[in-house]
């Protein structure tokens, strides 16, 4: 028997029972659509997070004080009550010695009370340098950013985020106004354009001071972080080594900083989201197994409905394997149809979600489509083997006599 004939006979059997076919196709389609859609959601979230990290700067390194490691010399230090050595402004200045480092922005983070005329509120204050603007891809709204002077020069100026500007000044032009922060006063040199949260800072809610002023304000010499932009994506690893070497030489040969490259962070988040996506797909795949059991049930009914027909086929000289193939093909056609419908539904759903939430883009990965179709047909095949085998083994005489 030729394959095309087998398929044609199966197709004729399928079209003979439209309701049964519809229900089986629907069951499979729901399973496939669930896998496709949930994977798309997971992928969409992963891409969103990736995009957020990329907006931090493509070749960014973050330097944290202290060495994070799971084993080694840290234990005694902790027992002795030592805290990691501070990162200082001088450490940051020294980083410019590396040829692979393009921009350096030390960060001091704190909060303080800001006031202007009668208005007053708690705000997040960040002390940094002019280079921060490029590293963070911030955009200037009015005026200008911090002056490009040496890091250790304190100048009484500040830049405010759009929300701060809105709440203190409303429609008044804030440029040149004196804002009081804690015990100091500084003149507003510019505002940031509204950007929303990028990375770990919400620039709209910030007041930005020169780093030396922030040190005086908080009376703390230690830096919270140093952000470094390497000269290019290829320079990231050399920049990292240089940073470690330079800091080591300044810290009596002790490697007491942690350098986080964006790649590492990105990879971690990437793998977390991949696990979530796989988990979602796995849960959805259970519905495909349920569909498979339904297929088994329906095929068993089909075999007993068509017992006489199987007897006739045997009387006409049909071999066991031919009857087996007929029923398997029928199940495969049903699940195949269901899979196609499921792909259409799933992709349509993902498209709809993308339209409803413009900031997220839900695309269905190829592997999810192939995987769900493969899983659907495999489960259709696996669960119809028993009914098909049952049919193939029927005794022709009693099959013909069946009523």
């Amino acid at each position: 028997m030729k394959i095309i004939d087998t398929v044609r006979l199966s197709a004729q059997a399928i079209s003979r029972y439209p309701l049964r076919t519809f229900m089986l196709v629907l069951a499979t389609a729901i399973g496939v659509a669930a896998v496709v859609l949930l994977t798309a959601v997971g992928e969409g979230a992963r891409q969103y997070v990736n995009g957020q990290f990329t907006s931090l700067g493509t070749h960014l390194l973050i330097i944290l004080p202290g060495k994070t490691e799971t084993s080694g010399a840290g234990v005694t230090g902790v027992l002795m009550g030592e805290t990691p050595r501070d990162l200082t402004l001088q450490d940051a200045i020294a980083l410019h010695r590396s040829v692979h480092v393009e921009k350096v922005a030390p960060i001091i983070l704190g909060s303080g009370t800001a006031s202007w005329q009668q208005r007053q509120r708690e705000i997040t204050v960040i002390g940094t340098t002019a280079e921060m603007l490029d590293i963070q891809f911030w955009r200037i709204g009015l005026g200008q950013f911090l002056p490009a002077v040496d890091m250790d020069v304190a100048t009484p100026v500040c830049v405010i985020g759009s929300v701060v500007q809105e709440e203190f000044f409303g429609n008044t032009n804030p440029i040149g106004q004196w804002l009081r922060i804690g015990d100091t006063r500084c003149r507003i040199s510019g505002t940031l354009a509204q950007a929303g949260r990028t990375g770990f800072l919400d620039s709209d809610e910030l007041v930005i001071l020169p780093v030396a002023n922030a040190q005086q304000l908080f009376d703390a010499p230690g830096l919270f972080r140093i952000l470094v932009q390497a000269t290019g994506p290829q320079a990231i690893n050399q920049a990292k080594q240089d940073i470690i070497e330079i800091t080591k030489s300044r810290h009596q040969g002790e490697e007491d900083i942690t350098v986080v490259t964006q790649d590492a962070v990105l990879e971690t988040f990437d793998s977390i989201f991949q696990m979530i996506t796989l988990g979602l797909a796995g849960i959805a795949a259970i519905s495909l197994v349920v569909a498979g059991i339904l297929i088994m049930n329906v095929m068993l009914v089909a075999v007993s409905q068509r017992t006489q027909e199987i007897g006739v086929l045997k009387a006409l000289g049909a071999q066991k394997h031919q009857i087996l193939m007929l029923f398997l093909t029928e199940a495969m056609c049903l699940t195949g149809l269901g899979g196609l419908l499921g792909l259409i539904l799933g992709n349509g759903g993902a498209e709809l979600l993308s339209i409803l939430t413009p900031e997220l883009n839900f695309t269905v990965p190829i592997w999810a489509m192939a995987g769900s179709i493969g899983m659907a047909t495999t489960s259709g095949l696996a669960f119809s083997i028993i009914p098909a085998w049952h049919a193939a083994r029927l005794d022709p005489v009693s099959a013909l006599a069946a009523r």
Partner: protein
């Protein structure tokens, strides 16, 4: 062509063993026309099933074209059945969702014949059955007599040596029944061996040789020539 020696067929019914056929000896020549008669439960159908290779004897030997087929495995049995035997049944047993033509093509399809060969043969066969204008009708669009003629067409599509009919007119009115009998007798005259199981003595009488079964044994066997 067919030779049976000491054929027995026992069925297990609960704890009891029922003997449906008891040491049957039979020889059938090519082109013979035989009717098998007897009361219900005499083993007519069982004998027909064994002759048609649908069933295997518990004991005894069956030679088909000088080949011992009584101990063949199922696979070879199906091949032999496909090549040598055509069946027609009381309830026609056409596949309801296939057209007359597709029903006739079914055995050729199972045998892996090409589409062209199938189409040509099915058209010729149905034409010779007087069904040239019914090629694309489904069974439920045909009368009983037409359905049985489609079934005959399907049985002879592979040009078998023997045509086995189990109560072929049992479900037809007498006019359609006569037509069906004429069709299969015509085929017999063209050389096919015809074995008909029937209750109806009128039909039984028409055969050139009568076999009467009783309690699984051959009670009477006339070798009468036309």
């Amino acid at each position: 062509m067919i030779k049976l020696r000491g054929i027995c067929r026992n069925f297990q019914v609960g704890d009891q063993i029922v003997t449906a056929l008891n040491h049957i000896d039979l020889e059938v020549q090519r082109g013979e026309y035989i009717s098998i008669m007897g009361p219900s439960g005499s083993g007519k159908s069982t004998l027909l099933n064994i002759l048609g290779l649908l069933d295997r004897p518990t004991e005894g030997t069956y030679w088909l074209n000088e080949k011992d087929v009584s101990r063949l495995e199922e696979r070879t049995l199906a091949e032999q059945r496909q090549r040598n035997i055509g069946f027609i049944f009381q309830f026609f047993h056409l596949i309801p969702r296939l057209s007359a033509r597709e029903n006739v093509e079914l055995p050729m399809l199972l045998a892996g014949k090409s589409v062209d060969a199938r189409r040509e043969r099915s058209r010729d066969v149905l034409k010779s059955m007087g069904l040239a204008d019914r090629l694309n009708h489904r069974p439920d669009q045909l009368s009983g007599g037409e359905r049985q003629r489609v079934a005959i067409g399907r049985a002879i599509a592979m040009e078998p040596a023997a045509l086995l009919a189990d109560e072929p007119t049992g479900n037809l009115d007498s006019k359609s029944g006569d037509e069906v009998i004429q069709v299969i007798e015509q085929l017999n005259q063209e050389g096919i061996s015809l074995i008909v199981v029937t209750h109806d003595p009128e039909i039984g009488k028409r055969a050139s040789r009568h076999l009467t079964l009783h309690d699984g044994e051959v009670r009477c066997d006339t070798k009468r020539q036309l």
